[in-house]
């Protein structure tokens, strides 16, 4: 989510964070001091330089990158086993995005926190993720390791997404695009939801495809792209 709306505007950061720690866990006494220490510790972990000053700052006094780091610190304050991050770097510049990615990666590696990173940026996925699930119209259509999915996509939709990334196209030439629009979730077409935009669709696709296991991967398609019948992704 956007770092601007995520923060409670009127609270000092320290107060907001400490309140969170107080509400969510059974803290050893003295409670207020422990909560404050937890908040401070979380800020240090996400690499904020002067945590004591920042605890007393209001959200509007922090830059976008700083706010996003505070948002991550709040997610970490109760020492979770799993963090779900919804488009956390989409609103940020490349340099700030790099900082956030570095912090998040360090946390996962050091404390063993699991991470679900929700994004539409395939390049970030390539650098960060171990496993990838691709979703289309409310369903997972492909699941595999990051190398499998990005190098040899099985589902035509995954293939289409990868092909439309500018860096995979010749500069200046028209980008290869997926025809049509995402269907409205209120009026999903019968059978495979991607059928109407898919070049491989046949009459079989009028019934709904299950999530097929294929080796150690899974794909929801009757006509998955096999390595032999399609040129590899450039």
């Amino acid at each position: 989510m956007s770092p601007m709306s995520r923060r409670e505007f009127i609270k000092r950061l320290g107060l907001a964070m400490a309140a969170l720690a107080l509400v969510r866990c059974k803290l050893p006494r003295p409670k207020t001091e422990t909560a404050r220490d937890r908040a401070r510790e979380a800020l240090v972990r996400v690499g904020i330089a002067a945590p004591d000053e920042r605890l007393m700052a209001y959200p509007h006094q922090c830059s976008g990158g700083m706010r996003q780091r505070v948002a991550i610190a709040i997610a970490l304050i109760n020492r979770p086993d799993l963090v779900i991050a919804d488009e956390p770097t989409t609103a940020l510049d490349v340099t700030i995005q790099g900082q956030i990615l570095a912090e998040v990666q360090k946390l996962c590696r050091e404390s063993g926190t699991a991470l679900i990173w929700i994004t539409h940026d395939l390049a970030v996925i390539a650098g960060l993720a171990d496993e990838v699930c691709v979703m289309y119209a409310g369903r997972i259509v492909e699941h595999g390791t990051v190398d499998q999915v990005l190098d040899t996509p099985l589902h035509p939709y995954t293939r289409g997404l990868l092909d439309s990334v500018p860096s995979r196209n010749r500069p200046g030439a028209p980008l290869r695009q997926i025809p049509g629009m995402t269907p409205s979730l209120l009026r999903l077409p019968e059978g495979c939801a991607f059928r109407e935009r898919c070049a491989r669709a046949t009459e079989t696709c009028l019934s709904e495809p299950p999530l097929y296991p294929l080796g150690d991967r899974q794909v929801r398609c009757f006509h998955p792209i096999h390595a032999e019948d399609e040129e590899p992704v450039v």
Partner: protein
């Protein structure tokens, strides 16, 4: 380069002043240390765009790229500097011609959700300006708008709809259709695809490429997405804190960035072919434009900063044909310069 550039900005600056309110004025009268705050959003920038060219303008948020775009489009009057259209100074033209120039430069705005009036129907959003400026008569507005929509790949049955009835990609197209409705020659696209998903982004970028060929348009393409800019632009301008730090033809700047900031920026882009990368953070953040660091604005974050960088502002000068960079390292004697630097001069 005998022909004058289509649009040229010479030494333009834009300062935003936060004026004091009544309480602060009284406090100052009484001797308090309150001053007006001045933001140098754009600081002495030269920009020339030739006909048919696509110029990419890249920088972090807050570096003044949108303000420069607005200066180019004439939406902000510059605080200093002059603006030329086809070699003639815009402010010196008679009013009627000034209006014609204004129409010839159109802007496509950042946010497809905020830049369309929610109370107007598409037929009026797209057609209003063309009617007001007498390009078409009101009787044929519907047909004209239908034609404009067709050009950007929207169906004419959508004429009577309101903006909220469209998806993000469709709204982006409406924004483009609105800009094209007054038959411009020059489009300023301010983060026009930033809010869109990859698949929709590809469709809109393809539309830009097609329109350029069909209508012979010239673009100033503002974006923080270096991948998009590389795909579309002939030439790239890199801005940092209100100043241009480097400008070069696209292929060259991506192959051999000269300025340390450009190098850092390019190294930060996540890439599809780099798996399980270990991300490293660039030091620091963009400083506040209210109190920019003296000398070279980039020196607090620059790995090659020298004492001179803290005092003297580097000028933008030609380091190779068509390539300009503002960095003191380019003056350094051979051997002192960093590796990328020697590659460029070699």
């Amino acid at each position: 380069m005998s022909e004058a550039p289509l649009l040229e900005l010479r030494g333009v600056s834009k300062r935003f002043v936060k004026t004091l309110d009544a309480a602060a004025k009284i406090a100052r009268r009484l001797g308090a240390n309150v001053r007006e705050e001045v933001v140098h959003a754009v600081d002495g920038v030269d920009l020339a765009v030739r006909k048919g060219e696509v110029v990419g303008l890249v920088g972090e948020s807050g570096c003044g790229k949108s303000t420069l775009g607005r200066l180019a489009a004439g939406l902000h009057p510059p605080s200093a500097g002059r603006r030329f259209w086809k070699g003639r100074e815009v402010d010196a033209l008679p009013p009627e011609e000034q209006r014609r120039v204004q129409l010839a430069i159109q802007m496509i705005f950042q946010d497809p959700y905020a830049s369309l009036n929610p109370r107007m129907r598409v037929v009026d959003i797209v057609g209003e300006a063309a009617v007001v400026h007498g390009l078409v008569v009101r009787e044929v507005q519907r047909d004209y708008v239908a034609e404009c929509l067709g050009r950007v790949g929207l169906d004419s049955s959508l004429l009577r709809r309101f903006p909220h009835q469209f998806s993000g990609g469709q709204r982006a197209r409406i924004g483009i259709a609105r800009a094209l409705a007054v038959r411009p020659e020059f489009l300023v696209c301010d983060e026009a695809v930033a809010a869109l998903d990859v698949s929709i982004q590809a469709q809109v970028l393809n539309l830009f490429i097609r329109l350029r060929e069909e209508l012979g348009l010239t673009y100033l393409f503002i974006s923080h997405d270096l991948g998009v800019v590389r795909h579309l632009s002939d030439r790239v301008i890199i801005m940092y804190l209100g100043r241009v730090v480097e400008t070069a033809p696209t292929a060259e700047i991506y192959a051999q960035p000269n300025h340390p900031y450009t190098q850092a920026l390019l190294a930060e882009i996540p890439r599809l072919d780099l798996r399980h990368k270990t991300f490293v953070a660039i030091r620091g953040e963009i400083p506040s434009p209210l109190a920019p660091p003296p000398g070279c604005h980039f020196h607090p974050r620059c790995p090659h900063a020298m004492p001179r960088c803290k005092i003297e502002r580097p000028v933008l000068r030609e380091i190779a044909p068509g390539r300009f960079s503002a960095c003191h390292l380019n003056d350094a004697p051979a051997g002192v310069a960093p590796s990328a630097q020697t590659e460029v001069t070699a």
